[in-house]
Symmetry: C2
Subunit: 292 residues, 2 copies
């Protein structure tokens, strides 16, 4: 085992070649609501959630297998639609579905996808490489991923774009010291980079790139929008650190996706939020817990 | 994709190296009954079911990832016991658990395990290589895999030994033309080899090696024991074909596991059962459907 559990993908050597592997499940009532969400979005997310882990390592997807437990009465037409979407989305990312296992049961729909990937010329970027003085960056925008017209069953948490090619472009521009994808929210995920790297971090609250939905969520909750930016989770954006010298080489956006400096790595002291005017506070967990 | 869906494992090339992958899920109420079955057997089967697919290709396991959806209230102690068993069983077969994904929901327990494997010097044995004239063989004994004292929750379908090392020993002795593991029962699985190989088959009913449990099942059902041997499923034994010249090289048992000639491959005509006295009948599906 070359990359043990705890990173976005595990890694083993197969015939002298590093092979990366990740698994994610998507369960009705936990990760989506089948009463609201179109099958097309469910199938899409089953694949893209895994591809976001591949992006987090700057790796290249190679293939996927899918296991599904379908509720009795789900119907063959629905099953075909679901698997067609998964196949199509996976192939769009060069990741053919090469096997599966389907059962029928009297419980709710659950899909489990495993993706294998290869470095393909780019050393996998782990969580443990952040260095004091590094600049912390994110791709895209954060927050409010669950805030969508309720009747749509969609929103960013279902329709995000996994940053597979973006991650590899970043790796070609700069030396990525550490990287992961934001699935549980910056407030829960940044401490994971800090723990793996034995460093601390400071986040400039005013610099956080927020989704329009984070502001919508703020209106609904009465909390500041940045709280949604760090706490909502399911952003599926890249969180990474680079040296200060490299940070200046980064463009403000790549292929239309913003790349934003949000803070810096420190020698220790946990994760601190720096508010406008300089007020400092420790970033609480406040991370996302699965909605139901 | 080098080995497309339809075999026991899919195969893709990663950096010039063939990597095999398989996924299987184990769902409460479908593949086991959590009210009866000890966690140790559930964890064991989650791993061994996949390893049986690895054996079916004569491949060598490299690593595994596991996704689990735990029922609310399952408890941390139970979760730890379950994953400890999986880790321990997997490592016994040289197949470290290198990642996972755990959720909690208000439905029943489901575990999904993905295993990757490598050829490691033995060309993967597919289903499509059977040739007319081949001898059909099985390892171990068949039938009655669900027949156990009901209160034990166990029996062969939970406690079988995946034939990983046995398959590789067989591959070292003879040229395996085709192979798979018997999961749905000989009556459903042998036709899969025939279809993939575009051949037919004849099975000598009297030659079928039956488990003691097949006879127990026969007493309970009033059907002949061989019906349980071909129809019960979840045997997780190897079904393979070799040339007649190679068949004579096979010992009657390897490491205490019987290796039995049960019939021959024909040019076509479906799968026929040859009864004692010469009566012929087409083998119906009669394959195993998931118990509940």
């Amino acid at each position: 085992v070359v990359i043990p559990p705890g990173d976005d993908m595990g890694g083993v050597i197969v015939g002298g070649q590093l092979v990366l592997i990740t698994v994610d499940q998507l369960a009705d009532g936990v990760h989506f609501d089948s009463a609201l969400t179109p099958l097309e979005l469910i199938g899409r997310k089953a694949i893209t959630r895994n591809l976001s882990d591949v992006a987090a390592m700057a790796a290249k997807p190679v293939g996927a297998v899918c296991a599904g437990c379908l509720p009795r009465g789900f119907g063959e037409a629905n099953a075909n639609r679901l698997f067609d979407v998964m196949r199509e989305v996976a192939e769009r990312y060069g990741c053919p579905l090469i096997g599966g296992d389907i059962s029928v049961w009297d419980q709710r729909l659950i899909l489990t996808v495993t993706v294998i990937a290869e470095p393909a010329g780019i050393e996998p970027v782990l969580r443990g490489g952040a260095k004091p003085g590094d600049v912390i960056c994110v791709t895209g925008r954060l927050g409010g991923s669950w805030t969508a017209p309720a009747e749509s069953g969609g929103g960013p948490h279902m329709e995000f774009e996994p940053r597979v090619s973006l991650a590899r472009k970043l790796a070609g521009m700069v030396k990525l010291h550490s990287m992961m994808d934001i699935s549980d929210g910056l407030a829960m995920d940044l401490p994971r980079i800090c723990e793996a790297s034995k460093v601390g971090a400071e986040i400039e609250v005013a610099s956080l790139p927020l989704r329009p939905q984070a502001h919508t969520a703020a209106k609904l909750s009465g909390k500041p929008a940045w709280v949604h930016g760090v706490g909502d989770g399911e952003d599926y954006e890249l969180l990474f650190t680079v040296s200060q010298a490299d940070a200046v080489k980064l463009p403000g956006e790549i292929d239309g996706v913003p790349v934003t400096r949000i803070g810096r790595v420190t020698g220790g002291g946990g994760v601190m939020l720096i508010h406008e005017g300089g007020r400092r506070e420790a970033m609480g967990p406040g991370g996302w817990e699965h909605h139901e």
